[in-house]
Protein backbone atom coordinates (compact mmCIF):
# COMPACT_ATOMS: atom_id res chain seq x y z
CA UNK A 1 0.00 0.00 0.00
CA UNK A 2 1.20 3.45 -0.80
CA UNK A 3 1.41 5.52 2.29
CA UNK A 4 3.30 8.56 1.21
CA UNK A 5 1.86 10.43 -1.76
CA UNK A 6 0.06 12.41 0.77
CA UNK A 7 -2.93 13.82 -0.98
CA UNK A 8 -3.92 10.42 -2.21
CA UNK A 9 -3.11 8.33 0.84
CA UNK A 10 -6.64 8.37 2.18
CA UNK A 11 -8.26 8.36 -1.21
CA UNK A 12 -9.87 4.96 -0.84
CA UNK A 13 -11.54 5.86 2.42
CA UNK A 14 -12.72 9.19 1.06
CA UNK A 15 -14.04 7.59 -2.09
CA UNK A 16 -15.97 5.09 0.02
CA UNK A 17 -17.50 7.72 2.26
CA UNK A 18 -18.48 9.87 -0.68
CA UNK A 19 -20.27 6.93 -2.28
CA UNK A 20 -22.34 6.51 0.85
CA UNK A 21 -23.50 10.09 0.75
CA UNK A 22 -23.84 10.65 -2.94
CA UNK A 23 -26.80 8.35 -3.01
CA UNK A 24 -28.90 10.87 -1.12
CA UNK A 25 -29.27 13.72 -3.55
CA UNK A 26 -32.21 15.50 -1.98
CA UNK A 27 -31.91 18.58 0.23
CA UNK A 28 -30.99 17.97 3.83
CA UNK A 29 -30.26 20.33 6.68
CA UNK A 30 -27.17 18.30 7.43
CA UNK A 31 -25.68 19.11 4.04
CA UNK A 32 -26.75 22.71 4.43
CA UNK A 33 -24.83 22.84 7.74
CA UNK A 34 -21.86 21.26 6.02
CA UNK A 35 -21.88 24.04 3.45
CA UNK A 36 -22.40 26.75 6.06
CA UNK A 37 -19.47 25.41 8.07
CA UNK A 38 -17.21 26.03 5.11
CA UNK A 39 -18.52 29.48 4.18
CA UNK A 40 -16.26 31.52 6.50
CA UNK A 41 -13.10 29.68 5.44
CA UNK A 42 -14.10 29.80 1.81
CA UNK A 43 -14.70 33.54 2.04
CA UNK A 44 -11.37 34.07 3.80
CA UNK A 45 -9.51 32.04 1.18
CA UNK A 46 -11.30 33.74 -1.70
CA UNK A 47 -10.19 37.14 -0.39
CA UNK A 48 -6.77 36.37 1.10
CA UNK A 49 -5.58 33.97 -1.57
CA UNK A 50 -7.41 34.62 -4.83
CA UNK A 51 -8.34 38.27 -4.28
CA UNK A 52 -4.88 39.21 -3.11
CA UNK A 53 -3.23 37.26 -5.94
CA UNK A 54 -5.40 39.18 -8.41
CA UNK A 55 -4.51 42.44 -6.70
CA UNK A 56 -0.79 41.68 -6.88
CA UNK A 57 -1.23 40.75 -10.53
CA UNK A 58 -2.99 44.05 -11.20
CA UNK A 59 -0.36 46.10 -9.35
CA UNK A 60 2.34 44.46 -11.47
CA UNK A 61 0.82 46.18 -14.51
CA UNK A 62 0.67 49.65 -12.92
CA UNK A 63 3.06 52.56 -12.44
CA UNK A 64 3.14 52.22 -8.65
CA UNK A 65 6.89 52.54 -8.17
CA UNK A 66 7.07 54.99 -5.30
CA UNK A 67 5.56 55.28 -1.82
CA UNK A 68 2.32 56.74 -3.16
CA UNK A 69 0.01 54.25 -4.86
CA UNK A 70 -0.39 54.94 -8.59
CA UNK A 71 -2.83 52.59 -10.26
CA UNK A 72 -2.31 53.90 -13.81
CA UNK A 73 -1.76 50.97 -16.11
CA UNK A 74 1.68 50.59 -17.63
CA UNK A 75 1.32 47.44 -19.70
CA UNK A 76 4.13 44.92 -19.47
CA UNK A 77 6.69 47.62 -18.71
CA UNK A 78 7.47 46.32 -15.21
CA UNK A 79 8.14 42.85 -16.56
CA UNK A 80 10.23 44.27 -19.38
CA UNK A 81 12.36 46.21 -16.91
CA UNK A 82 12.55 43.19 -14.64
CA UNK A 83 13.85 40.71 -17.19
CA UNK A 84 16.51 43.19 -18.31
CA UNK A 85 17.60 43.80 -14.75
CA UNK A 86 21.05 42.52 -13.79
CA UNK A 87 19.91 41.63 -10.31
CA UNK A 88 16.83 39.72 -11.45
CA UNK A 89 18.76 37.83 -14.10
CA UNK A 90 21.21 36.83 -11.36
CA UNK A 91 18.26 35.75 -9.18
CA UNK A 92 16.92 33.43 -11.86
CA UNK A 93 20.36 31.90 -12.42
CA UNK A 94 20.85 31.41 -8.67
CA UNK A 95 17.38 29.95 -8.24
CA UNK A 96 17.96 27.48 -11.05
CA UNK A 97 21.29 26.23 -9.71
CA UNK A 98 20.13 26.32 -6.11
CA UNK A 99 16.99 24.30 -6.87
CA UNK A 100 18.75 21.64 -8.96
CA UNK A 101 21.61 21.03 -6.53
CA UNK A 102 19.40 21.32 -3.46
CA UNK A 103 17.03 18.64 -4.74
CA UNK A 104 19.78 16.33 -5.94
CA UNK A 105 21.70 16.59 -2.68
CA UNK A 106 18.64 16.13 -0.47
CA UNK A 107 17.52 13.10 -2.49
CA UNK A 108 20.91 11.42 -2.47
CA UNK A 109 21.58 12.09 1.21
CA UNK A 110 17.97 11.36 2.18
CA UNK A 111 17.81 8.04 0.30
CA UNK A 112 21.20 6.96 1.58
CA UNK A 113 20.27 7.71 5.19
CA UNK A 114 16.88 6.03 4.77
CA UNK A 115 18.51 2.84 3.48
CA UNK A 116 20.95 2.90 6.41
CA UNK A 117 18.18 3.44 8.95
CA UNK A 118 16.06 0.70 7.34
CA UNK A 119 18.63 -2.03 8.16
CA UNK A 120 16.75 -3.23 11.25
CA UNK A 121 19.41 -1.65 13.43
CA UNK A 122 19.40 -0.92 17.14
CA UNK A 123 18.78 2.69 18.06
CA UNK A 124 16.88 3.36 14.86
CA UNK A 125 14.81 6.03 16.58
CA UNK A 126 17.86 7.88 17.83
CA UNK A 127 19.46 8.03 14.39
CA UNK A 128 16.21 8.98 12.68
CA UNK A 129 15.67 11.80 15.14
CA UNK A 130 19.20 13.10 14.75
CA UNK A 131 18.73 13.36 10.98
CA UNK A 132 15.30 14.90 11.28
CA UNK A 133 15.60 17.39 14.13
CA UNK A 134 16.93 20.28 11.96
CA UNK A 135 13.45 20.32 10.36
CA UNK A 136 12.06 21.57 13.67
CA UNK A 137 14.34 24.61 13.67
CA UNK A 138 13.70 28.03 12.26
CA UNK A 139 15.65 28.85 9.09
CA UNK A 140 16.85 31.94 10.97
CA UNK A 141 18.52 29.75 13.59
CA UNK A 142 20.07 27.65 10.82
CA UNK A 143 21.23 30.80 9.07
CA UNK A 144 22.82 32.27 12.19
CA UNK A 145 24.74 29.07 13.01
CA UNK A 146 25.93 28.28 9.50
CA UNK A 147 26.90 31.88 8.88
CA UNK A 148 29.42 31.39 11.62
CA UNK A 149 30.45 27.86 10.66
CA UNK A 150 31.10 28.87 7.05
CA UNK A 151 32.59 32.26 7.74
CA UNK A 152 35.92 32.05 5.86
CA UNK A 153 37.83 33.37 8.89
CA UNK A 154 36.27 31.07 11.49
CA UNK A 155 34.33 27.85 11.67
CA UNK A 156 35.24 24.88 9.53
CA UNK A 157 38.10 26.78 7.93
CA UNK A 158 39.94 26.69 11.27
CA UNK A 159 39.84 22.91 11.00
CA UNK A 160 40.97 22.99 7.37
CA UNK A 161 43.85 25.26 8.33
CA UNK A 162 44.80 23.02 11.24
CA UNK A 163 44.89 20.15 8.73
CA UNK A 164 47.28 22.18 6.62
CA UNK A 165 45.09 23.65 3.88
CA UNK A 166 46.80 26.78 2.66
CA UNK A 167 43.85 28.11 0.68
CA UNK A 168 40.68 27.18 2.54
CA UNK A 169 37.39 27.90 0.72
CA UNK A 170 36.00 31.43 0.75
CA UNK A 171 32.49 30.00 1.21
CA UNK A 172 29.76 32.61 0.86
CA UNK A 173 32.21 35.45 0.33
CA UNK A 174 33.37 33.96 -2.96
CA UNK A 175 32.39 35.83 -6.11
CA UNK A 176 33.43 33.09 -8.54
CA UNK A 177 30.93 31.61 -10.94
CA UNK A 178 31.64 28.19 -12.49
CA UNK A 179 31.52 27.73 -15.44
CA UNK A 180 31.26 31.31 -16.43
CA UNK A 181 29.90 32.43 -19.75
CA UNK A 182 27.86 35.43 -20.75
CA UNK A 183 24.10 35.16 -20.94
CA UNK A 184 22.25 38.45 -21.09
CA UNK A 185 24.02 40.78 -18.72
CA UNK A 186 25.22 38.14 -16.33
CA UNK A 187 27.77 35.37 -16.00
CA UNK A 188 25.96 32.05 -16.20
CA UNK A 189 26.99 29.16 -13.98
CA UNK A 190 26.96 28.05 -10.36
CA UNK A 191 28.05 30.84 -8.02
CA UNK A 192 30.51 29.22 -5.61
CA UNK A 193 29.01 31.25 -2.76
CA UNK A 194 25.77 29.34 -3.25
CA UNK A 195 27.47 26.15 -2.07
CA UNK A 196 27.50 27.54 1.48
CA UNK A 197 23.76 28.19 1.33
CA UNK A 198 23.26 24.73 -0.16
CA UNK A 199 25.14 23.05 2.68
CA UNK A 200 22.99 24.79 5.28
CA UNK A 201 19.73 24.03 3.51
CA UNK A 202 20.62 20.40 2.82
CA UNK A 203 21.51 20.04 6.51
CA UNK A 204 18.06 21.30 7.37
CA UNK A 205 15.96 19.50 4.75
CA UNK A 206 17.64 16.18 3.87
CA UNK A 207 16.11 14.57 6.98
CA UNK A 208 12.76 15.32 5.45
CA UNK A 209 13.67 13.40 2.29
CA UNK A 210 14.93 10.63 4.56
CA UNK A 211 11.60 10.46 6.42
CA UNK A 212 9.66 10.19 3.17
CA UNK A 213 12.01 7.59 1.69
CA UNK A 214 11.94 5.62 4.91
CA UNK A 215 8.16 5.44 4.87
CA UNK A 216 8.42 4.46 1.21
CA UNK A 217 10.90 1.68 2.01
CA UNK A 218 8.64 0.45 4.81
CA UNK A 219 5.85 0.13 2.26
CA UNK A 220 7.99 -2.05 -0.03
CA UNK A 221 6.95 -5.66 0.66
CA UNK A 222 9.46 -7.55 2.76
CA UNK A 223 9.70 -10.31 0.11
CA UNK A 224 10.92 -7.86 -2.48
CA UNK A 225 13.54 -6.51 -0.13
CA UNK A 226 14.48 -10.09 0.80
CA UNK A 227 14.84 -10.90 -2.89
CA UNK A 228 17.17 -7.94 -3.16
CA UNK A 229 19.59 -9.34 -0.61
CA UNK A 230 19.18 -13.05 -1.23
CA UNK A 231 20.84 -12.21 -4.50
CA UNK A 232 23.58 -10.80 -2.29
CA UNK A 233 26.38 -10.78 -4.85
CA UNK A 234 24.64 -7.98 -6.69
CA UNK A 235 22.86 -6.28 -3.83
CA UNK A 236 23.50 -2.76 -5.08
CA UNK A 237 22.30 -3.55 -8.59
CA UNK A 238 19.25 -5.37 -7.28
CA UNK A 239 18.41 -2.40 -5.11
CA UNK A 240 18.36 -0.07 -8.11
CA UNK A 241 16.56 -2.57 -10.31
CA UNK A 242 13.89 -3.82 -7.90
CA UNK A 243 13.53 -1.64 -4.80
CA UNK A 244 14.19 1.81 -6.19
CA UNK A 245 11.47 1.64 -8.88
CA UNK A 246 9.00 0.97 -6.04
CA UNK A 247 10.05 4.30 -4.58
CA UNK A 248 9.08 6.28 -7.65
CA UNK A 249 5.90 7.78 -6.20
CA UNK A 250 7.85 8.85 -3.11
CA UNK A 251 10.52 10.39 -5.29
CA UNK A 252 7.89 12.42 -7.12
CA UNK A 253 6.53 13.70 -3.81
CA UNK A 254 10.03 14.49 -2.55
CA UNK A 255 10.87 16.45 -5.69
CA UNK A 256 7.62 18.44 -5.65
CA UNK A 257 7.99 19.38 -2.01
CA UNK A 258 11.65 20.27 -2.31
CA UNK A 259 11.01 22.37 -5.42
CA UNK A 260 8.42 24.30 -3.45
CA UNK A 261 10.71 24.63 -0.50
CA UNK A 262 13.60 25.90 -2.62
CA UNK A 263 11.43 28.40 -4.48
CA UNK A 264 10.16 29.77 -1.19
CA UNK A 265 13.66 30.04 0.28
CA UNK A 266 13.89 33.43 1.87
CA UNK A 267 14.64 33.38 5.60
CA UNK A 268 17.78 31.28 5.30
CA UNK A 269 19.45 33.53 2.74
CA UNK A 270 18.16 36.64 4.51
CA UNK A 271 19.80 35.50 7.75
CA UNK A 272 22.91 33.84 6.37
CA UNK A 273 24.31 35.83 3.46
CA UNK A 274 21.92 38.46 2.13
CA UNK A 275 22.07 39.19 -1.62
CA UNK A 276 25.84 38.65 -1.60
CA UNK A 277 28.62 40.39 -3.46
CA UNK A 278 27.40 41.00 -7.02
CA UNK A 279 24.14 39.19 -6.13
CA UNK A 280 25.84 35.78 -6.04
CA UNK A 281 23.47 34.50 -3.34
CA UNK A 282 20.42 36.61 -4.18
CA UNK A 283 17.07 34.96 -4.88
CA UNK A 284 13.77 36.29 -6.31
CA UNK A 285 12.20 36.17 -2.83
CA UNK A 286 14.90 38.44 -1.43
CA UNK A 287 14.76 40.74 -4.46
CA UNK A 288 10.98 41.03 -4.11
CA UNK A 289 11.32 41.95 -0.45
CA UNK A 290 13.92 44.68 -0.85
CA UNK A 291 12.41 46.05 -4.06
CA UNK A 292 9.03 46.39 -2.39
CA UNK A 293 9.74 47.35 1.17
CA UNK A 294 13.11 49.08 0.95
CA UNK A 295 12.98 50.69 -2.50
CA UNK A 296 9.17 51.14 -2.38
CA UNK A 297 8.86 49.93 -5.98
CA UNK A 298 5.58 48.19 -5.43
CA UNK A 299 4.81 47.47 -9.08
CA UNK A 300 8.28 46.01 -9.64
CA UNK A 301 7.97 43.96 -6.46
CA UNK A 302 4.58 42.67 -7.61
CA UNK A 303 6.04 41.66 -10.95
CA UNK A 304 8.73 39.62 -9.17
CA UNK A 305 6.05 38.03 -6.96
CA UNK A 306 3.99 37.09 -10.01
CA UNK A 307 7.02 35.51 -11.71
CA UNK A 308 7.62 33.50 -8.53
CA UNK A 309 3.99 32.45 -8.51
CA UNK A 310 4.03 31.34 -12.14
CA UNK A 311 7.26 29.36 -11.64
CA UNK A 312 5.72 27.62 -8.66
CA UNK A 313 2.53 26.79 -10.51
CA UNK A 314 4.47 25.05 -13.28
CA UNK A 315 5.32 22.38 -10.70
CA UNK A 316 2.31 22.51 -8.43
CA UNK A 317 -0.62 22.43 -10.86
CA UNK A 318 0.22 19.12 -12.55
CA UNK A 319 0.88 17.58 -9.13
CA UNK A 320 -2.37 18.86 -7.63
CA UNK A 321 -4.30 17.88 -10.72
CA UNK A 322 -2.95 14.34 -10.59
CA UNK A 323 -3.48 13.89 -6.87
CA UNK A 324 -7.05 15.14 -6.94
CA UNK A 325 -7.91 13.16 -10.05
CA UNK A 326 -6.61 9.95 -8.50
CA UNK A 327 -8.63 10.69 -5.41
CA UNK A 328 -11.77 11.23 -7.45
CA UNK A 329 -11.53 7.76 -8.95
Amino acid sequence: MEKTPVLTSQSAAIARSSVAHHKKRRFSWDKMWSFLTLVPSLAAVLIFVYGFLGWTGYVSFTKWNSILPDYQLWGFKNYQILFQDYRFQSDLRNLLFFTVFFILACMVVGLFLAVLVDQKIKGENIFRNIFLFPMALSFIVTGVVWQWLLNPKTGVNLIFEALGASHPPAWYTSTRIVPSFHVGQIQFGLPIAMIAVLIASVWQMSGFAMALYLSGLRAVPEEIKEAAHVDGANGWKTFWRIVFPQLRPVTVTVVIILVQSSMKTFDLVYAMTGPGNGYVTDLPSLDMFTTTFQANQYAQGSAIAIVMFVLMMIFVIPYLWNSLRKEGQ
Binding site: W33, L42, L320
Partner: protein, 273 residues
Protein backbone atom coordinates in the same frame (compact mmCIF):
# COMPACT_ATOMS: atom_id res chain seq x y z
CA UNK B 1 19.40 -5.46 2.31
CA UNK B 2 21.87 -3.69 0.08
CA UNK B 3 24.20 -2.94 2.89
CA UNK B 4 24.07 -6.38 4.47
CA UNK B 5 27.07 -7.58 2.56
CA UNK B 6 29.03 -4.58 3.73
CA UNK B 7 28.13 -5.75 7.19
CA UNK B 8 26.31 -4.41 10.18
CA UNK B 9 29.39 -2.70 11.57
CA UNK B 10 29.81 -0.67 8.40
CA UNK B 11 26.18 0.42 8.69
CA UNK B 12 26.74 1.61 12.23
CA UNK B 13 29.98 3.34 11.34
CA UNK B 14 28.26 5.26 8.57
CA UNK B 15 25.28 6.13 10.76
CA UNK B 16 27.50 7.41 13.55
CA UNK B 17 29.61 9.38 11.09
CA UNK B 18 26.57 11.10 9.57
CA UNK B 19 25.08 11.69 13.00
CA UNK B 20 28.24 13.48 14.09
CA UNK B 21 28.14 15.68 10.99
CA UNK B 22 24.50 16.53 11.62
CA UNK B 23 25.31 17.41 15.22
CA UNK B 24 28.28 19.70 14.48
CA UNK B 25 26.13 22.87 14.37
CA UNK B 26 24.54 21.90 17.68
CA UNK B 27 27.95 21.38 19.24
CA UNK B 28 29.08 24.84 18.16
CA UNK B 29 25.78 26.38 19.18
CA UNK B 30 25.84 24.94 22.69
CA UNK B 31 29.55 25.24 23.51
CA UNK B 32 29.69 28.84 22.32
CA UNK B 33 26.55 29.82 24.16
CA UNK B 34 28.00 28.59 27.48
CA UNK B 35 31.25 30.54 27.13
CA UNK B 36 31.87 33.74 29.06
CA UNK B 37 32.64 36.85 26.97
CA UNK B 38 36.40 36.64 27.43
CA UNK B 39 36.55 33.12 25.97
CA UNK B 40 34.81 34.00 22.72
CA UNK B 41 37.78 34.37 20.47
CA UNK B 42 37.70 33.07 16.97
CA UNK B 43 40.81 30.93 17.27
CA UNK B 44 39.23 28.76 19.96
CA UNK B 45 35.72 28.49 18.63
CA UNK B 46 35.88 24.68 18.56
CA UNK B 47 37.13 24.37 22.12
CA UNK B 48 34.89 23.52 25.04
CA UNK B 49 34.31 26.39 27.49
CA UNK B 50 36.91 26.59 30.31
CA UNK B 51 34.42 28.21 32.60
CA UNK B 52 30.83 27.29 32.23
CA UNK B 53 28.85 30.52 32.12
CA UNK B 54 25.22 31.48 31.70
CA UNK B 55 26.05 35.15 31.17
CA UNK B 56 25.28 34.98 27.46
CA UNK B 57 21.87 33.50 28.22
CA UNK B 58 20.95 36.32 30.55
CA UNK B 59 22.16 38.83 27.93
CA UNK B 60 20.16 37.09 25.20
CA UNK B 61 17.14 36.80 27.46
CA UNK B 62 17.25 40.54 28.17
CA UNK B 63 17.10 41.17 24.42
CA UNK B 64 14.75 38.43 23.28
CA UNK B 65 12.55 37.81 26.33
CA UNK B 66 9.65 40.03 25.22
CA UNK B 67 9.84 38.62 21.69
CA UNK B 68 9.66 35.08 23.02
CA UNK B 69 6.49 36.19 24.77
CA UNK B 70 5.15 37.56 21.47
CA UNK B 71 5.95 34.29 19.72
CA UNK B 72 4.20 32.20 22.37
CA UNK B 73 1.14 34.43 22.19
CA UNK B 74 1.11 34.29 18.39
CA UNK B 75 1.87 30.60 17.96
CA UNK B 76 -0.49 29.33 20.66
CA UNK B 77 -3.52 31.41 19.64
CA UNK B 78 -3.06 30.95 15.88
CA UNK B 79 -2.44 27.21 16.33
CA UNK B 80 -5.65 26.78 18.31
CA UNK B 81 -7.72 28.88 15.91
CA UNK B 82 -6.46 27.26 12.73
CA UNK B 83 -6.73 23.74 14.18
CA UNK B 84 -10.29 24.24 15.42
CA UNK B 85 -11.47 25.75 12.15
CA UNK B 86 -9.64 22.99 10.26
CA UNK B 87 -11.44 20.39 12.38
CA UNK B 88 -14.83 21.87 11.38
CA UNK B 89 -13.84 22.12 7.73
CA UNK B 90 -12.43 18.62 7.57
CA UNK B 91 -15.62 17.21 9.06
CA UNK B 92 -17.79 19.07 6.54
CA UNK B 93 -15.62 18.01 3.62
CA UNK B 94 -15.19 14.34 4.51
CA UNK B 95 -18.55 13.31 5.88
CA UNK B 96 -21.28 15.52 4.44
CA UNK B 97 -20.71 15.97 0.75
CA UNK B 98 -22.98 18.61 -0.66
CA UNK B 99 -23.20 19.43 -4.35
CA UNK B 100 -19.99 21.28 -5.13
CA UNK B 101 -18.03 20.13 -2.09
CA UNK B 102 -15.54 18.44 -4.40
CA UNK B 103 -14.71 21.86 -5.81
CA UNK B 104 -14.55 23.62 -2.44
CA UNK B 105 -11.72 21.39 -1.24
CA UNK B 106 -9.21 22.19 -4.02
CA UNK B 107 -10.17 25.87 -3.80
CA UNK B 108 -9.15 25.92 -0.14
CA UNK B 109 -6.18 23.58 -0.60
CA UNK B 110 -4.61 25.74 -3.32
CA UNK B 111 -3.81 28.40 -0.71
CA UNK B 112 -0.94 26.38 0.68
CA UNK B 113 0.95 26.15 -2.60
CA UNK B 114 1.39 29.82 -3.35
CA UNK B 115 4.60 31.67 -2.56
CA UNK B 116 3.45 34.17 0.04
CA UNK B 117 5.33 36.96 -1.71
CA UNK B 118 2.51 36.92 -4.23
CA UNK B 119 -0.06 38.08 -1.66
CA UNK B 120 2.24 40.10 0.58
CA UNK B 121 1.59 43.63 -0.68
CA UNK B 122 -2.25 43.46 -0.55
CA UNK B 123 -1.97 41.67 2.78
CA UNK B 124 0.15 44.47 4.21
CA UNK B 125 -2.28 47.13 2.96
CA UNK B 126 -5.24 45.16 4.30
CA UNK B 127 -3.68 44.66 7.74
CA UNK B 128 -2.86 48.39 7.83
CA UNK B 129 -6.43 49.28 6.81
CA UNK B 130 -7.95 47.28 9.66
CA UNK B 131 -5.42 48.80 12.09
CA UNK B 132 -3.69 45.56 12.93
CA UNK B 133 -0.33 46.56 11.44
CA UNK B 134 2.49 46.03 13.91
CA UNK B 135 0.36 43.96 16.26
CA UNK B 136 0.42 40.30 17.22
CA UNK B 137 -3.33 39.97 16.49
CA UNK B 138 -2.53 40.99 12.91
CA UNK B 139 -0.07 38.10 12.67
CA UNK B 140 -2.54 35.77 14.39
CA UNK B 141 -5.15 36.60 11.75
CA UNK B 142 -2.63 36.10 8.94
CA UNK B 143 -1.21 32.81 10.20
CA UNK B 144 -4.67 31.45 10.97
CA UNK B 145 -5.99 32.13 7.49
CA UNK B 146 -2.96 30.85 5.60
CA UNK B 147 -2.87 27.84 7.95
CA UNK B 148 -6.42 26.78 7.04
CA UNK B 149 -5.53 24.79 3.90
CA UNK B 150 -3.12 22.50 5.73
CA UNK B 151 -5.29 22.00 8.83
CA UNK B 152 -8.34 21.34 6.63
CA UNK B 153 -6.34 18.79 4.63
CA UNK B 154 -5.04 16.98 7.71
CA UNK B 155 -8.47 16.78 9.37
CA UNK B 156 -10.21 15.78 6.16
CA UNK B 157 -7.83 12.87 5.71
CA UNK B 158 -8.08 12.02 9.37
CA UNK B 159 -11.89 11.92 9.47
CA UNK B 160 -12.01 9.91 6.27
CA UNK B 161 -10.52 7.05 8.28
CA UNK B 162 -13.47 7.05 10.70
CA UNK B 163 -16.01 4.46 9.48
CA UNK B 164 -19.31 5.73 8.16
CA UNK B 165 -21.14 3.03 10.16
CA UNK B 166 -20.37 4.96 13.32
CA UNK B 167 -22.03 8.02 11.88
CA UNK B 168 -25.01 6.15 10.56
CA UNK B 169 -25.68 4.51 13.91
CA UNK B 170 -25.37 7.90 15.61
CA UNK B 171 -27.89 9.25 13.11
CA UNK B 172 -30.26 6.43 13.94
CA UNK B 173 -29.92 7.51 17.57
CA UNK B 174 -31.31 10.85 16.47
CA UNK B 175 -28.12 12.89 16.03
CA UNK B 176 -27.92 15.49 13.29
CA UNK B 177 -24.88 17.24 11.79
CA UNK B 178 -23.73 18.83 15.05
CA UNK B 179 -24.72 15.91 17.23
CA UNK B 180 -22.54 13.55 15.21
CA UNK B 181 -19.69 16.06 15.34
CA UNK B 182 -19.84 16.61 19.10
CA UNK B 183 -20.55 13.02 20.16
CA UNK B 184 -18.62 10.97 17.60
CA UNK B 185 -16.08 12.97 15.66
CA UNK B 186 -14.66 15.36 18.23
CA UNK B 187 -13.78 12.70 20.82
CA UNK B 188 -12.09 10.65 18.09
CA UNK B 189 -10.28 13.68 16.69
CA UNK B 190 -7.76 14.08 19.54
CA UNK B 191 -4.83 12.57 17.56
CA UNK B 192 -5.78 14.85 14.66
CA UNK B 193 -5.51 17.84 16.98
CA UNK B 194 -2.13 16.66 18.22
CA UNK B 195 -0.81 16.38 14.65
CA UNK B 196 -2.15 19.72 13.42
CA UNK B 197 -1.29 21.37 16.72
CA UNK B 198 2.35 20.36 16.53
CA UNK B 199 2.60 21.12 12.85
CA UNK B 200 1.04 24.55 13.16
CA UNK B 201 2.92 25.48 16.32
CA UNK B 202 6.29 24.69 14.70
CA UNK B 203 5.43 26.41 11.41
CA UNK B 204 4.05 29.54 13.04
CA UNK B 205 6.83 29.77 15.61
CA UNK B 206 9.41 29.52 12.83
CA UNK B 207 7.56 31.77 10.37
CA UNK B 208 9.57 34.78 9.22
CA UNK B 209 8.23 36.47 6.07
CA UNK B 210 4.91 37.63 7.51
CA UNK B 211 6.54 38.53 10.79
CA UNK B 212 9.24 40.71 9.25
CA UNK B 213 6.75 42.37 6.87
CA UNK B 214 3.92 43.08 9.30
CA UNK B 215 5.67 44.03 12.54
CA UNK B 216 8.45 46.23 13.84
CA UNK B 217 10.07 46.43 17.31
CA UNK B 218 8.92 45.79 19.99
CA UNK B 219 6.07 43.77 18.56
CA UNK B 220 8.18 41.31 16.61
CA UNK B 221 8.16 37.55 17.08
CA UNK B 222 11.43 36.02 18.18
CA UNK B 223 12.62 34.89 14.73
CA UNK B 224 12.76 38.50 13.56
CA UNK B 225 14.31 39.66 16.81
CA UNK B 226 17.01 36.97 16.55
CA UNK B 227 17.76 38.07 13.01
CA UNK B 228 18.13 41.69 14.20
CA UNK B 229 20.34 40.54 17.06
CA UNK B 230 22.65 38.56 14.80
CA UNK B 231 22.73 41.33 12.22
CA UNK B 232 24.17 43.69 14.79
CA UNK B 233 27.96 43.97 14.89
CA UNK B 234 28.17 44.84 18.56
CA UNK B 235 26.60 41.63 19.80
CA UNK B 236 29.07 38.93 20.84
CA UNK B 237 28.87 35.49 19.23
CA UNK B 238 28.11 33.75 22.51
CA UNK B 239 25.05 35.98 22.95
CA UNK B 240 23.92 35.33 19.39
CA UNK B 241 24.28 31.58 19.89
CA UNK B 242 22.42 31.74 23.20
CA UNK B 243 19.69 33.68 21.41
CA UNK B 244 19.54 31.01 18.71
CA UNK B 245 19.23 28.31 21.39
CA UNK B 246 16.40 30.21 23.10
CA UNK B 247 14.62 30.62 19.76
CA UNK B 248 15.05 26.97 18.86
CA UNK B 249 14.20 25.50 22.26
CA UNK B 250 10.37 25.58 22.20
CA UNK B 251 10.03 23.78 18.86
CA UNK B 252 12.87 21.40 19.76
CA UNK B 253 11.15 20.48 23.03
CA UNK B 254 7.89 19.88 21.21
CA UNK B 255 9.82 17.76 18.72
CA UNK B 256 11.62 15.72 21.38
CA UNK B 257 8.45 15.07 23.38
CA UNK B 258 6.07 14.51 20.49
CA UNK B 259 8.40 13.65 17.64
CA UNK B 260 6.23 10.79 16.43
CA UNK B 261 3.38 13.15 15.80
CA UNK B 262 5.71 15.69 14.22
CA UNK B 263 6.68 13.06 11.65
CA UNK B 264 3.04 12.27 11.03
CA UNK B 265 2.30 15.95 10.53
CA UNK B 266 5.26 16.12 8.20
CA UNK B 267 3.93 13.28 6.11
CA UNK B 268 0.36 14.54 6.21
CA UNK B 269 1.45 18.08 5.55
CA UNK B 270 4.27 17.33 3.23
CA UNK B 271 2.48 18.91 0.33
CA UNK B 272 3.29 22.12 2.18
CA UNK B 273 7.07 21.89 1.93
Amino acid sequence: MVMRRVGQSATYTLLVFFSLIFLVPIYVLLTTSFKPNNEVDIAHMWALPHHFSLASYSAAWAQLGPNLGNSFYLAIVATILSSVIGAFNGYALSKWKFPGSNIVFPIILFGMFIPYQSILIPLLKFIQAIHLYNTIPGLILTNTIYGLPITTLIFRNFYAGIPDDLIESAQIDGNGYWGVFMRIMLPLAIPGFVVTGIWQFTSIWNEFLFAVSLTSPPHQPVTVALQNLSGSDVVQWNVQMAGAVLTALPTLIVYILLGRYFIRGLLAGSVKG
